[in-house]
Every structure is written in structure tokens, then in C-alpha cells.
């Protein structure tokens, strides 16, 4: 009986590997945007217009992306660069696998066990990177190589561990209140210069039949960033306070309590839409793009709203932004912005084509690639200096954000929710919903945070 079982298992396994063999031969059909004929892989490429030491053997690079939309925004930028690279390096075939964020993170774990693609998208934040680096998944990069790449000072910090660099940042994310300028002008509302004025606007806007601020409360992270923003207004730069609190599991510093109380007060004042605590990103954003909400608290990556033809023109051409206003008696100024470098790329330690992968990585980060294309396609700001690429054709919104970044007096760094382990992230993003809508007290919220850090 046992022998028969073993024999059958062997048969299954053999059949399986036969099929596995078949499918890998067919992978050439698989590359979504491959413009090469596979035959050229065997042809020694003469016009490989790249740097020294180029291998002309056929190479396959696997890129794992978290941007499934290859026709718009950041995904388009990525794809453009990939296509260009393949055109310039005829011996290289790049296979792209793109999954949306949730599925990406799940698959990432599977790949961590075995078969990690060569170039992967990562987030330069402790909640993602800590465990990844502990497991030795990414290969170390040589920081000096990137001295001339124009990276904004401090943007590489989130991608380092013990002083060693493991990835490169792609975007500079800034959190701000997008607002509908036309709506403000038509209704005679004044742009708030202080936080108190913002709160005072809430009933005025509601009475006029609009939502003051559309908030994605269904995901916990926008509110966690809002909380971080408030902390900066109360206390000034809070980077150290946050990292200490997370490391020691001690949230007794008064700034946490004050900021949370202020958030609760804000929700009570009905600054956000009814049901904000369960409405998701898309719903909140639609309130704003439909002209039903006066403001939308979200990141600079949405500045492509100004170019999105699906949004009605009278909204689209009137979108502007301002950062969190200062508190009348607070330390932080409006120019102490909530900004960080989150998304980026890295090369896997297990990659068998590391050299080529790093070469591709560097290619992507050439100042006239990611940054330039990103800017041209309105996807927000990169982590590199983009001033050479100002075309003069920017949307108003892009100019607004450029100003915000250029005139910033300080940068928050990674927001609170991403500063700890991912278990901390899961807890704070869920608890913040309860504390903001009043089902939990501030003390309970902070103790939950403390417990998850231990």
C-alpha cells in the first residue's frame, strides 16, 4: 500500500515537472510589453548603447511592481522606462508582474520563501522594511554610487539599516488638504490660516450643503497621518518622540494625548463626512471630485487629479492645496510639512542576475527617467531634485506642491503608523477609527498602542 502511494506521488511529481518545463519555454509569449522577438536574445547585440562591462548574453529580468495600471500615472512611467531599457539593451528581456497593494504584500511573502523577483517595489518604512531586512531579502547597495543622482537630502534614510543602503526612494509624499478653489470663491469662504479657522469653517460649509473635508476613514492610515500632522503642529518636529515611543512602548508624552484629543474634537465638529470612519479611499475621493466636498485630505500623489479627464472640468481645473494650518498656540508652523519618502525600489539578495538588476535600477533613477517622466505625467514629486524638468506647462497644482516642498521648514519623515512593526501598524490603523468616532477613549487608544509595541 505504502509503496503504491509513493509510486503514485512520484508519477504526479514527474508529470508536474514535465508541465513546468513546457510552460517555461512558453514564457516568451508572456511578457506583457515585450517588443523583442525572442530570437534576438540569441543574436549578439551590437547596438547595446550602455555603459562598460556590458554582458551581451541574453538576460531575463523579473520586475515585481505594485502598480497594476500600466496605462496611467506611476505605472505608466514605470512601463515607459522598462520599454526604453529593453530597446536600448537588446539582450535583456524584462518580465513585469504587477499586483495591487494587498495582493502584492501577500505575494511578496510567498516570494520571500522562494523565487523573489530581481527588482521589487518596496516601502522605505519600518513597518515594511524591518522584517524584510531582518530576513536578509534585499541586497545591499553602494551609497556612493548615487551621489550624483540628485536625491533630496534625508530621502535615503528610511531605506537604510545600520548605515547600509538597501533601496532607493521613488516619491516624495506630502500630505495636504486638496481644496476646490472655485467652491471656496463662489461661496465666499476664506482659506483657513489657523486650525481653529478650519474647524470654524465646518458648520459654514455644511450649512451650504457641502462636505467640509472628505476623509478616507475606512483605511486607518490617512487619519494616522492626520494625527502625526497635528502632533507636529502642537509640538514642532516629533520624529524622536515617535521613534522613542514606539521603541519603548511608552506613549505617555503629552503630545500624544493632546493630538488624539484634538482629532476627536475635529471629528465631533463634523469636519469630516458622515460615515467617514467606514468609507474607503475611492468613496472619499469621489466626494471631492464630484464637487460635493470642499476639501480632501490626501497625499501629493493625487495631484494627477488635475490631469484626469474623467473628472469634470470645473472641479479638475480648480484643485489647489494647502498643508495643515498651524494651531494658534502651537509650536509647529504651516511650513512644517507631513512628508516622507515611502515607495521605492530594491534588488533582491537572491537574484541570479544581480549585476543587470542593479544596472536597471540605476537606469530607472537616471535623473531624466523616473523624475522627468513622473513630473511630465503629473504623478506627484520624486525623491530626486526635479527642478531641471519644469516645463512651464505644469498644472497649477503641481506648482503648488513644488512650492510647498521648496518652502518647507521641516519634514516629518515617516508618519506614526509606519514607524513600528507591522503589528503596530495594524493596531493603530484599526484603533484610530474607534477613538475618532468616540467609541473608545483616548486613554484606551494609547494603551492599545502601548500594548502592541511590547
Amino acid at each position: 500500500m505504502k509503496k503504491k502511494l509513493l509510486a503514485s506521488l512520484l508519477v504526479v511529481a514527474m508529470t508536474a515537472s514535465m508541465f513546468a518545463g513546457c510552460s517555461s519555454e512558453n514564457k516568451k509569449e508572456v511578457t506583457e510589453e515585450a517588443t523583442e522577438d525572442v530570437a534576438t536574445e540569441e543574436v549578439v547585440a551590437e547596438e547595446a548603447a550602455t555603459e562598460e562591462g556590458v554582458s551581451t548574453e541574453p538576460v531575463t529580468l523579473k520586475v515585481f511592481s505594485n502598480l497594476p495600471d500600466r496605462k496611467n500615472g506611476q505605472g505608466l512611467v514605470e512601463q515607459l522606462i522598462i520599454d526604453e531599457y529593453m530597446a536600448e539593451n537588446q539582450n535583456v528581456t524584462i518580465e513585469v508582474e504587477a499586483l495591487d497593494e494587498e495582493a502584492y504584500k501577500t505575494k511578496f511573502k510567498a516570494y520571500a520563501m522562494d523565487g523573489m523577483p530581481d527588482v521589487v517595489s518596496i516601502w522605505g518604512q519600518p513597518s515594511f522594511l524591518n522584517e524584510v531586512l531582518d530576513a536578509g531579502i534585499l541586497t545591499q547597495l553602494n551609497e556612493e554610487d548615487y551621489a550624483d543622482y540628485g536625491f533630496i537630502p534625508g530621502s535615503l534614510d528610511g531605506f537604510k539599516k545600520d548605515g547600509k543602503l538597501y533601496g532607493l526612494p521613488r516619491n516624495t509624499d506630502v500630505m495636504a488638504f486638496f481644496y476646490n478653489e472655485k467652491l471656496f470663491k463662489d461661496n465666499g469662504w476664506e482659506l483657513p490660516k489657523t486650525y481653529e479657522e478650519l474647524l470654524a469653517l465646518a458648520p459654514v460649509i455644511t450649512d451650504a450643503g457641502f462636505v467640509p473635508v472628505a476623509m478616507d476613514g475606512g483605511d486607518g492610515w490617512p487619519m494616522a497621518i492626520y494625527l502625526t500632522d497635528l502632533m507636529i503642529r502642537i509640538n514642532g518636529n516629533s520624529k524622536d518622540i515617535i521613534s522613542n515611543a514606539v521603541a519603548t512602548g511608552d506613549f505617555s508624552d503629552p503630545v500624544f494625548t493632546k493630538a488624539t484629543d484634538l482629532l476627536v474634537q475635529t471629528a465631533d465638529a463634523n469636519l469630516f463626512q458622515t460615515g467617514y470612519d467606514t468609507q474607503d479611499y475611492g468613496t472619499a475621493m469621489n466626494l471631492f471630485t464630484n464637487g460635493q466636498a470642499a476639501m480632501f485630505y490626501m497625499g501629493a500623489w493625487e495631484s494627477s487629479m488635475a490631469l484626469n479627464k474623467d473628472i469634470p472640468e470645473e472641479v479638475r481645473t480648480n484643485i489647489r492645496a494647502f498643508t495643515m494650518p498651524a494651531l494658534a498656540d502651537g509650536v509647529g508652523k504651516q511650513t512644517d510639512i507631513a512628508a516622507w519618502n515611502g515607495g521605492g525600489y530594491a534588488v533582491s539578495e537572491a537574484s541570479e542576475v544581480k549585476e543587470e538588476a542593479i544596472k536597471f535600477l540605476n537606469y530607472m533613477y537616471q535623473p531624466d527617467k523616473l523624475s522627468k517622466y513622473g513630473w511630465e505625467n503629473g504623478v506627484g514629486m520624486s525623491a530626486q531634485d526635479q527642478s531641471p524638468y519644469m516645463t512651464g506647462n505644469e498644472t497649477e497644482l503641481q506648482n503648488v506642491f513644488t512650492d510647498i516642498v521648496n518652502t518647507a521648514t521641516s519634514v516629518s519623515g515617516t508618519p506614526l503608523n509606519d514607524c513600528g512593526l507591522s503589528s503596530f501598524k495594524a493596531v493603530i490603523e484599526s484603533e484610530i477609527q474607534s477613538v475618532s468616532n468616540g467609541t473608545e477613549t483616548t486613554e484606551e487608544f494609547l494603551s492599545a498602542l502601548e500594548a502592541s509595541c511590547k
Partner: protein, 290 residues
């Protein structure tokens, strides 16, 4: 005949495919999963053995108990609300005959044919405080109509409504095929004896359906624990952990919180509960039979 029917070789060849698939795709991963349940594996890197640590943490984990409570509520909802309705509708459809029967049977199952994502979107829409159906209805009746259906107080009930409504099609289908299996000769005999519709239903249909009812109830409880996609899309367990269900919680812990070992421990408890419930129901249904 007995010899033919006890032929070991033939028996083996008949059950082998099923057993093979089971071992390969279910038993093996579950064994691995149980092993992980005893480690602090984060999903990447090393897995260190930590013994019963995860289970100890489970006992004081509020989210876990909440998900158990919600699953229990849902199971009760299934058994008490959904199943009686499903059986009645199945019986009525069986009686209808002709085109009407085919039509209704077809239409009633439609929500289960389309993806759960659509259902979730639709209900989120209906529950929307500003322009959702429910609040508009309330406004039409003269109320203020600003209830936050997916907010803290109502969330679990709103989710339960969706889940109970959604499962109706499956329950109805299974009961329907069960009813269809009852020999019509029995009905003829009953009507000759002068039994009317409800007597026939309670004295003939229901008792003959016992095995189907038993399994359907078992499946209802298991499915109450297994609820994942719908909850994930509707509320993802929120706000807080109010609408958390076992399978969703497992997913969250294992995949989002990088606590893979812990998530697997939840999975093991999950399986144990299902086993206990099945055995218990087996006994319960057996004693009733004479």
C-alpha cells in the same frame, strides 16, 4: 456479489485519486500550517519554535474573541432565519412546477453567481449615510435619515444582514435538490390519505430531509467561521474589531501584521472548532432517529 464489492484492488483504485488530492493539497499544507502555529514565523526569514505562546496570546486577544462571537451570531442567524426561509421556498418551488418553477429557481440564485465584490460594493452603496438607499428610505418616511449603518453601533447587524441575505441562494439550492430527491410516490400516497400541504410538509418532507438538514446546518456553522471575502470588502473587520470574523482575522494577522505563526494558530483553532461542531451535530442528529 459480496466478493466483487469487497475487491480491495478496485476499492483502492476508486478512492486513490481523491485521497491523493486530499493529501497533497489539503493535508500537507495543514500539517505545515500547524507547525507554523507553534512558531513566531513572520512570513519571511526564520521560524523559531515558541511552543504554546501563540495559543496563550489568543486567549487574551480581544479581536479573536470578537470574531468568535460574531461567527456564532452569524451561525445562529443562518440557522434561525436563513434556513427555514430556504426550506420553505424550496418546498414552494417544488410545488410550483412548470416554467414558473424554473424561472424562480434560476433567478433566486443569481446573486451567488456574480462575484462577491459586486455584492460588497452594492451594499456599501446602500448603506452610505449620504446617498444610500436605506437612509433615503428613512428620509422619505420623514425621519432624519442620517444613520451610519456601518458605524460602531450598527456595523455588525448591517454585516449580518448582508451575509444572511447572500447565503440564501446556496441554502435554497441544496434544500431544493434534497426535496427533489423525495420519491413522488410518497406524496401521492399522502394525498390519497387526505393530507393537505402543510401536513405533507411537516410529516413527510422534513423528516426525509433530515440528512440534508444536518449537513446544511453543519456547513452553515463552518461557513459562518469561514466568512472572509465579503467582510473584508465591506468593513475589513472594522470599525475597531467590531465586525471581525474568524477567517478574516486569520488573514489580517497572517498577512498584514506579519504574524504568520499567530495567524496559523488561529487556523488550527478554527479547524478544531469545526471538528467539534461536526461531531456534536452528528451525535445530536443520530439520537433523534429511531
Amino acid at each position: 456479489m459480496k466478493k466483487l464489492y469487497s475487491n480491495k484492488l478496485i476499492i483502492f483504485s476508486l478512492v486513490l485519486p481523491g485521497i491523493l488530492v486530499f493529501i497533497f493539497a489539503i493535508l500537507a499544507p495543514i500539517c505545515l500550517s500547524t507547525y507554523y502555529g507553534f512558531t513566531d514565523y513572520s512570513g519571511m526569514g526564520k521560524a523559531t519554535f515558541v511552543g504554546m505562546e501563540n495559543y496563550k496570546t489568543l486567549i487574551s486577544d480581544e479581536g479573536f474573541w470578537m470574531s468568535m462571537k460574531n461567527s456564532l451570531l452569524l451561525a445562529v442567524g443562518f440557522i434561525v432565519i436563513q434556513h427555514p426561509l430556504a426550506i420553505m421556498v424550496a418546498a414552494i418551488l417544488d410545488k410550483l412546477q412548470g416554467k414558473a418553477e424554473g424561472f424562480f429557481r434560476c433567478v433566486y440564485f443569481i446573486p451567488n453567481v456574480i462575484s462577491v465584490a459586486i455584492i460588497a460594493y452594492l451594499w456599501k452603496f446602500i448603506y452610505n449615510p449620504d446617498f444610500g438607499l436605506f437612509n433615503n428610505f428613512l428620509k422619505a418616511l420623514g425621519f432624519e435619515g442620517k444613520i451610519n449603518w456601518l458605524g460602531a453601533e450598527f456595523a455588525i447587524w448591517s454585516v449580518l444582514i448582508v451575509l444572511i441575505w447572500h447565503g440564501f441562494g446556496w441554502g435554497m439550492l441544496i434544500y431544493y435538490t434534497g426535496i427533489k430527491n423525495i420519491d413522488p410516490v410518497l406524496y401521492e400516497a399522502a394525498s390519497i390519505d387526505g393530507a393537505n400541504a402543510s401536513v405533507t410538509f411537516f410529516r413527510i418532507t422534513l423528516p426525509l430531509m433530515k440528512p440534508v438538514i444536518q449537513v446544511n446546518i453543519t456547513m452553515a456553522i463552518i461557513s459562518a467561521l469561514k466568512q472572509m471575502e465579503t467582510v473584508y470588502l465591506l468593513t475589513n473587520g472594522g470599525p475597531g474589531n467590531r465586525t471581525q470574523f474568524a477567517a478574516n482575522y486569520l488573514y489580517q494577522q497572517a498577512f498584514k501584521a506579519f504574524k504568520y505563526g499567530y495567524g496559523n494558530a488561529i487556523g488550527v483553532i478554527f479547524i478544531i472548532i469545526c471538528l467539534v461542531v461536526t461531531i456534536f451535530l452528528n451525535r445530536a442528529f443520530q439520537t433523534k432517529e429511531i
